[in-house]
């Protein structure tokens, strides 16, 4: 789903995982503080600037956003039609753009829908920035610091490690089925769902067998032999991390201050 970690030397790559995690939180919280799409749009632009300056592949982002588009449109429609005019403080927003029968589509509702869409975009983009620039080991150490058991963290890491493997396997299974006369992806929606199920079954059978082998391989590599394990690269806050974290705290305080002055409402 998210873009995988890719080793590089960009300025975000060099930051500590905690700085990035805090940044993700700050951006997300700010997006929930304001109702007006203007400020959220500003955050999206900022996030996009960061995203592209660190060299994230455009194709990967397209892949994530594309399946979300129908959901976005659905959200705009729902909010536009269901938010009654009385919900909005400004007169402008109480205006009805058009009506479907007796149900009015309000400008405020439409704008609120945009805000919701932008919130999702913000979370998608900022989490992509984190996953693209942070090795999974660092995220595991973060989990360890907040006292999440090692075994649990290991399950997450192994799951992520096997995403490309499973993708490759599912491709191979589909190829084998095509070579035996199955039309995959050319048959219309319902039928192609059916053909994906026949892909899923061998995939599940295969992963069950793989998980057994994996357990054996873990024992072979001494998993659980000692009470503690060594972390090769321990995460470390540097000066720039402290600076940026400070900036992030200021930013969120500023956001709350603005909100208290009734800025960014609808």
């Amino acid at each position: 789903m998210l873009i995988e970690y890719y080793p590089s030397e960009s300025y975000v790559h060099k930051l500590d995982v905690r700085t990035k995690a805090l940044g993700f939180l700050v951006f997300t919280i700010i997006s929930f503080v304001f109702l007006s799409p203007v400020i959220n749009l500003l955050i999206v632009v900022c996030a996009c600037v960061i995203l592209f300056t660190i060299g994230t592949p455009f194709l990967g982002i397209k892949k994530i956003i594309k399946p979300l588009l129908p959901i976005f449109i659905f959200m705009l429609l729902i909010t536009g039609f269901t938010y009654p005019a009385s919900n909005f403080t400004s007169e402008e927003n109480q205006k009805t753009l058009f009506s479907l029968g007796t149900i009015p589509f309000t400008l405020g509702g439409f704008l609120y829908g945009i805000t919701l869409v932008l919130r999702i975009l913000i979370m998608v983009i900022t989490s992509t920035i984190v996953t693209y620039t942070t090795p999974i080991e660092d995220i595991l150490q973060l989990l360890k610091r907040i006292k999440i058991p090692h075994q649990f963290a290991f399950i997450i890491a192994t799951g992520i490690r096997f995403i490309p493997t499973m993708q490759k396997k599912s491709e191979m299974i589909q190829e084998a089925q095509k070579a035996r006369g199955a039309e995959i992806g050319t048959d219309g929606f319902i039928k192609s769902i059916g053909s994906y199920i026949t892909v899923l079954i061998p995939l599940i059978v295969d992963s069950l067998r793989m998980s057994d082998n994996l357990a054996i391989a873990m024992l072979n590599r001494g998993f659980g032999a000692m009470k503690t394990t060594t972390d090769l690269n321990e995460i470390k806050m540097k000066r720039r991390d402290y600076l940026i974290c400070f900036g992030e705290v200021i930013l969120i305080a500023f956001a709350f201050w603005l909100r208290s002055k009734n800025i960014g409402v609808l």
């Binding site: 001494g222 659980g224 503690t228």
Partner: protein, 584 residues
């Protein structure tokens, strides 16, 4: 009896073992001892119990894979009954067959660090062992690479590095070379023998690699049906025709010639050749000199007729990120030909094959099947003409019974129930699975699953068959059975393309050999020609079958033929010896 065992030694005293919930796989009285620093080969058929034996050594059996266990296994002075597998792992490293499930890290470096950090080695120490073990397996400079982007051979080496990094005293490897090309195979054995020389690592390796076992192993232990039936020096084992036949081990090619000469009374008992030098000495001693140059080449197979089954014109192909995988290929394959595609891993053999049924589409150029441009046909539409058997049977099996599995392809074909069932039964009969129609495919053995995958393609009755490494990971018996099936289909007039790393099979069965290298055709011709281009083959890291090398070395004596199979060379020799009269 009090016995002092050294560190790094192994002692197996298994009285009996039977897997829980299993009726077969019974082990009884398995006893052997391995001294520190030895290099031991473990051989035997698929299903003889090699993997279980290896899992016994670090306690995976019976601690993880439970069963009825009686006996004592002492590895590195530790009785496996008393230690956890994880603790044993510090001293006895086990590398299993499938590298994919033995890689945990997202980058190479992190994966190698997994073992040592589980053992809580210090940070400096871990850095040191990462460097050392990657160097040992020839993956220096790969530290930051993503493990998902490695090739099969690289993954296999990484799996070994991951275990080496734990600095075990005993290294146990279960068929680590089964998916490698010949050059990669040789590299693994060289690496292991290097390790053995350097430190006091004890090595136990299983596999079907006759030539390598002969060269590198100090001792061979032969298993059959869960029992040790033989133990001794490899030279003795391979000379023993009766035994090797019985346990399904392929003897070296030169030994086969020796045995034939012995049977004809031309060689003393016990003086069967085990390496090429012995053979050459024999020919020198007998002052063999060939004067005739009878030309009996060609195999008597039906070589293809004039109409063309497959043609590619200026076929080029690029994968998304990588450089060109196929480069302007112009290949014509006639109906009824048996073509072997050979070349290193990654040379473009599979990429080329997948163009022929539309699984991959050319970036440039055209593919014609039976004269038709296939650009507009889907893979499914082509499936009646081009059958494709993939390498791993497990990705080709989707159904709950063997019968349904074979039926899969027919469902889309609008056939009557009756025709369907005749076709299914005849396909199953052809591969010898007719008794298993009701079984679940995954309860079959690996060799049988491979046959099933083969049947699922045969049932579509394609006239062109592409088979990707049909003998990978199979023992000698299984290999022969598979090849006999292919030969039979060839005789029936099918066009066959076989991707293989096994040069002996390519030489024996194919009418034509195409050598791929970096997405180009390096050589193309009958095996009698291709395998004698030793310089060009070398540049593609291909070693010709032994008998080609022998024939080349006989050139001094005036030998002029170009045999590619042992039988041919053998016959030439016998003829010559007969002409010369009595020998010895």
């Amino acid at each position: 009896m009090v016995e002092v065992l050294e560190r790094g030694s192994l002692k197996v005293d298994l009285l009996r073992f039977k897997y829980k919930n299993s009726l077969t796989d019974i082990f009884s009285s398995l006893n052997f001892k391995i001294e520190r620093g030895e290099f031991i080969g473990l051989m035997g058929r698929t299903g003889a119990g090699k993997t279980t034996t290896m899992m016994l050594l670090n306690g995976l059996v019976p601690h993880f894979l439970e069963g009825d266990f009686e006996g004592n296994i002492i590895a590195n002075t530790m009785n496996t009954r008393r230690y956890r597998v994880q603790t044993m792992a510090r001293f006895i490293g086990l590398v299993l067959q499938d590298p994919e499930t033995q890689i945990f890290g997202i980058t190479v470096e992190k994966d190698v660090a997994f073992g040592p950090s589980n053992l809580a080695f210090g940070k400096e120490k871990i850095r040191e062992v990462i460097g050392k073990s990657l160097k040992a397996v020839g993956l220096e400079g790969y530290e930051k690479r993503m493990t998902s982007e490695l090739s099969g051979g690289e993954k296999q080496r990484l799996a070994i590095a991951g275990v080496l990094a734990m600095e075990p005293e005993i290294l146990v490897l279960d068929e680590p070379t089964s998916e490698l090309d010949p050059a990669g195979k040789e590299e693994i054995y060289k690496l292991l023998s290097g390790l053995k020389k350097k430190g006091d690592v004890t090595i136990l390796i299983s596999g079907h690699d006759t030539e390598e076992m002969l060269e590198y192993a100090d001792r061979i232990i032969v298993l059959d049906d869960g029992q040790k039936i033989w133990e001794g020096r490899p030279t003795v084992l391979f000379k023993n025709v009766v035994l090797t036949k019985k346990v399904g081990i392929r003897p070296p090619e030169v030994t086969e010639i020796g045995n034939c000469l012995k049977e004809c009374g031309l060689l003393d008992q016990g003086s069967v050749f085990i390496n090429r030098n012995e053979f050459l000495q024999f020919t020198k001693k007998n002052l063999l000199s060939f004067k005739t140059s009878d030309n009996g080449s060609g195999k008597g197979h039906s070589v293809g007729n004039d109409s063309i089954a497959i043609e590619t014109r200026d076929l080029s192909f690029n994968y998304e990120q990588k450089n060109s995988a196929l480069n302007e290929l112009n290949i014509k394959i006639h109906k009824g030909e048996f073509v072997a595609l050979i070349g290193k891993n990654g040379a473009g053999k599979t990429t080329f094959s997948k163009q022929l049924n539309g699984l991959l589409r050319p970036t440039k150029g055209t593919v014609y099947i039976n004269g038709k441009d296939i650009g507009r046909l889907t893979t499914a539409q082509l499936s009646k003409e081009v059958g494709y058997v993939f390498q791993n049977p497990d990705h080709q099996i989707f159904s709950a019974t063997v019968y349904e599995e074979v039926e899969f392809g027919l469902k889309k074909m609008n056939l009557s129930e009756k025709i369907r069932s005749t076709r299914i039964n005849s396909a199953l009969e052809f591969v010898g699975l007719e008794k298993f129609t009701k079984r679940h495919p995954f309860t079959l053995g690996k060799g049988e699953r491979q046959k099933l995958a083969f049947a699922t393609v045969l049932v579509m009755e394609p006239k062109i068959l592409i088979i990707d490494e049909p003998t990978t990971g199979q023992d000698w018996d299984g290999t022969n059975k598979m090849m006999r099936m292919l030969d039979k289909l060839h005789m029936q007039g099918h066009t066959i393309l076989m991707i293989t790393h096994n040069m002996i099979l390519a030489a024996e069965y194919a009418d034509r050999v195409i050598v791929f290298s970096n997405g180009k055709v390096l050589l193309d011709g009958p095996p009698e020609k291709v395998f004698y281009e030793s310089e060009i083959l070398k540049s593609a890291s291909i070693t010709a079958p032994d008998c080609v090398i022998l024939a080349a070395e006989l050139r001094d004596t005036g030998y002029k033929n170009y045999p590619v199979t042992i039988n041919k060379l053998q016959n030439d020799l016998l003829e010559q010896l007969a002409r010369k009269g009595n020998v010895n």
